[in-house]
Subunit: 563 residues, 2 copies
């Protein structure tokens, strides 16, 4: 990854933008929904320039840096400004508020790039001896505050970037497993596996800028989790270097050998040690991926169809994702202006939908449904799926919606940067629950968000939600909310606004029986609620593990467990 | 469960026996395989009578017992001989050697039957205050030494029998989950769920005499795990009463809220606390269960077919179980003498097999394959399955084999009692590994067993194995071995003989890359190898959890973690 090309103040790389051309309804709709004045839309509030940022000098003195260089090699130790800035935060709304304002009071004192496990072991011992904090860093896409150095901690901080560990070490085609280094980013994982005819099947929105180790550390879920599982289902074994030594879990399909250390290390968010590699379950590359939209008259109908799809023994969808009415409207708003042949097809589709009595801008809900596999299987699955959807009055929109979703699946975070440039607050909260509690959780989240945005000074706000990561027993809920940023140049005011909404909605999620987080992780942002999720005895258990694996408390302090 | 009807010295209940009538080849084959003399077969070595056993008096004095009765009620506190004997051991070969000889130096001092979580909480506090050891006890079917009071421990011991917690508390048909008390035995779980149209799908060989809590505590697998998952896949949430307080894991389909406490408590074998209830994922009762035998010419062919069956995206078998040649022969030996209509059908089948050029007593291997579901689905799956099996020259034996397997699936342990009556040693070892390592592990286990039985004085011995619990990445291996018991009336000699074989083979399993145990658990028997499985840092992690949940060390000491 070329660090010169990174948008250190936002998402992704400098050579890419959210493709706004042709999306004529975008700004007018936002203006209406959020009560944005013309002036707000026209005024641009760009991030500060790198030159304007002044960083605290590295607290590592020359002899210490020299010793570090001796350990890892000079090129693996970086203290220059851009590198330190790029590693100061993750990519949450709060992170971007701070970095765009140039507010980086606690940058890492250096960033190191070890090349193998031996170096990582030496580095941990070296750091423990000197009471230096280490923050493991994959792709840097955390949205829960997992990557920043702790406040009020006088110890120097090294960020340990795993970018040099990006290889698929071996593929076992017979057992369909692969040994992969933790620093491999999504495209690195897939291109190396694809070359041998396989896929991992993990495609989170952060795919291009997140790593295997990060996915495992955060218990991530990809958009195709219905077909391929969450990351914890894909992970057969991990190797983690902890300050107390290397932990390597048994590389077997299943075991009954006591409590699962594998599942203790999955989700440990860099606080127990550094994940260096893992054995992952892989699958043959699908010959066909057939993803389509299906429109339903109501959320209730759509949910019933989702549930039946995933509870039918003969259905194996790869993705099932149901947008509520506001999110369905946003698809229309974000769709391209029809032009050319594609435009003609779109116009015909719109006409068809209308004739059938549907209207996807007023109360109907859109399901994105997809199957991966061999052509015949996929066709059979679609036949049966359309029967099920038909029972709930679902109207198939064929493949164009699926194709545009596939095309745009990784670009949404670029849109966020653009909105931030124009004073729009935007963030996402997510949870999961059982089917029977789903509407209750959905309504609780929506009510909390819709109530707290105006109170925060965010105007009427806009809340849109999808239900996804479905399984036989339940599903996850993911709500995106937008509002006006408070009209205060101080980024602290903007953070406080966001924090108030986050607090109210997270309380509402837990009160409604949802889990604290389905796939974002805990980080610093969710840590205050962890005890509500797992109980005080549970937290003591996690703390005991922390003391065992990291007796000096140098691994990512303040993340997961509150100090 | 009527304790008067329990075979305290063996398996199951007194009103049942292994149905030996008609199985004419049983003894003659055993005699040939094991080199048993006529005299050995004719001589019966029955267990001692209850009267012959003298137990150490309960170490709980009257005031302590009175206080216990005040806590739980008088009827919930038992100190009579039969109850103490029934709770002294599990059901491993070594357990039966000891109990049949009347060797019970460390019986529990009392057995208690709390009726709810409140009582269990009080009991744990009461015991911690008095430094009294507690052993949680479900159905008592452990085969790894998980249930006996520790040797060389002067503290009094209470066995906590969960028999009074046998209810399915509620069923959520929408989400397909049920809240079930931990003391529910297999038939109690299934009958209550079946009444509402559901099944848990967990059918271990111990089904009739094991409990939900025991399955979870031991990370068990049922014979239909291919279709329904291992117990850890079925368990959505658990509640565990620990001496440090109650731990209740989040009841959600999935979560990213840190390391998984759920997967720490699954497999904790009563050493962290008492599992009191769990939310389990359930499934609609299948309309059809169509289980059949398929004969292959070689283990290699059979394995290739198993792998393809489970790696095909459109196949969802409920059970796939491949017996090697010696186990296939044992099916023939244990089959009933053909009589009546059934006999005619069997005779026709035998003829058909012969005409097709197969012979299931000389090198061919038998796959038991089954599908659960709706009639049409199952028929479609079988069509496709027979195509796959056909590619590897599999010969379908229709349903009679499947039916007799279903009929006899829980009776094998009764046969063990009968063999023990006649000086035969018999036990089972199991592991799991990836497909590419499977033949290596299979051969390592077989070689270790075949080598160590004669050395132990067990004669030529007989080793038979099946591959089951298959999944996309690998499978488990389960080897049963038989031999002559050493001709020494001292049960210690018989234990030493078994221990030598166990030691050699377990070392071989780990050396060949297999896991220490796929579904039996750790207990005391596997505890010495746990560090080889999870590493020393891993063991320290498990110990730290132990100290957190059970600071006084009163929960099932000596199990899982060596003192």
């Amino acid at each position: 990854m070329d660090i010169q090309n990174l948008r250190w103040w936002g998402w992704g790389t400098l050579d890419r933008e959210y493709p706004v051309e042709g999306r004529k309804a975008l700004w007018s709709s936002l203006q209406k929904w959020l009560g944005l004045s013309d002036e707000t839309i026209e005024r641009e509030t760009p991030p500060v320039s790198l030159e304007e940022i002044s960083l605290r000098p590295s607290r590592l003195d020359d002899p210490v840096l020299a010793s570090l260089c001796a350990l890892l090699g000079e090129r693996a130790v970086r203290t220059d400004k851009l590198v330190r800035v790029c590693h100061a935060y993750g990519k949450s709304y709060r992170d971007l508020m701070r970095i765009r304002a140039g507010h980086i009071p606690n940058p890492p004192d250096a960033v190191v790039y070890p090349v193998d496990q031996r170096q990582i072991c030496s580095l941990l011992a070296w750091a423990a001896e000197r009471d230096i904090v280490l923050i493991p860093f994959g792709g840097g896409s955390s949205v829960v505050g997992s990557l920043e150095p702790p406040e009020d901690d006088e110890r120097p901080v090294l960020t340990l970037d795993l970018a040099s560990l990006g290889r698929v070490l071996c593929v076992d085609p017979i057992s369909r497993v692969a040994r992969i280094q933790a620093g491999a980013r999504g495209p690195e994982v897939e291109s190396q596996l694809n070359a041998q005819g396989f896929t991992l099947g993990h495609f989170p929105q952060s795919f291009e800028f997140s790593t295997l180790g990060g996915w495992i550390a955060a218990r991530a879920a990809g958009q195709n989790s219905v077909g391929y599982g969450k990351i914890e289902d894909m992970t057969q074994a991990v190797r983690v270097v902890t300050p107390a030594g290397v932990v390597e879990t048994k590389d077997a399909p299943d075991t009954a050998a006591g409590p699962s250390l594998l599942h203790v290390l999955i989700g440990s968010e860099g606080t127990y040690g550094v994940i260096t590699e893992a054995t992952m379950r892989i699958h043959p590359l699908p010959v066909v991926q057939d993803y389509r939209g299906v429109l339903f008259r109501s959320l209730e109908d759509g949910l019933a169809a989702c549930r039946e799809l995933v509870q039918s023994a003969d259905m194996c969808p790869s993705i099932v994702r149901l947008s509520d009415a506001p999110e369905t409207v946003s698809y229309a708003v974000l769709s391209y202006e029809p032009r050319g042949l594609r435009g003609l097809a779109d116009a015909l589709l719109q006409r068809y939908v209308k004739v059938q009595g549907y209207d996807w801008t007023s109360g109907n809900v859109l399901m994105l449904l997809g199957f991966d596999g061999k052509a015949k299987q996929v066709a059979r699955q679609w036949d049966r799926a359309l029967e099920i959807c038909g029972d709930y009055q679902g109207c198939s929109l064929w493949q164009s919606i699926g194709q545009s979703w596939m095309r745009d699946r990784y670009v949404q975070p670029y849109l966020r940067d653009m909105l931030l440039d124009h004073g729009v607050m935007i963030d996402t909260l997510e949870s999961a629950t059982t089917w029977s509690n789903l509407m209750h959780l959905y309504e609780s989240m929506a009510t909390a968000l819709k109530g707290s945005i105006p109170i925060s000074g965010g105007g009427p706000g806009y809340v849109m939600t999808h239900i996804s990561h479905v399984r036989e027993c339940g599903a996850s809920i993911c709500s995106t909310f937008l509002g006006r940023q408070v009209n205060d140049p101080d980024h602290l005011a903007k953070q406080a606004q966001w924090q108030a909404i986050k607090q109210t909605t997270t309380d509402a999620i837990l009160a409604a029986g949802g889990t604290l987080t389905h796939h974002h992780g805990v980080g610093r942002d969710h840590a205050p609620w962890l005890e509500k999720e797992v109980g005080s005895v549970g937290v003591h258990g996690l703390e005991a593990l922390k003391r065992t694996f990291d007796p000096a408390g140098i691994m990512n302090p303040g993340v997961l467990l509150t100090p």
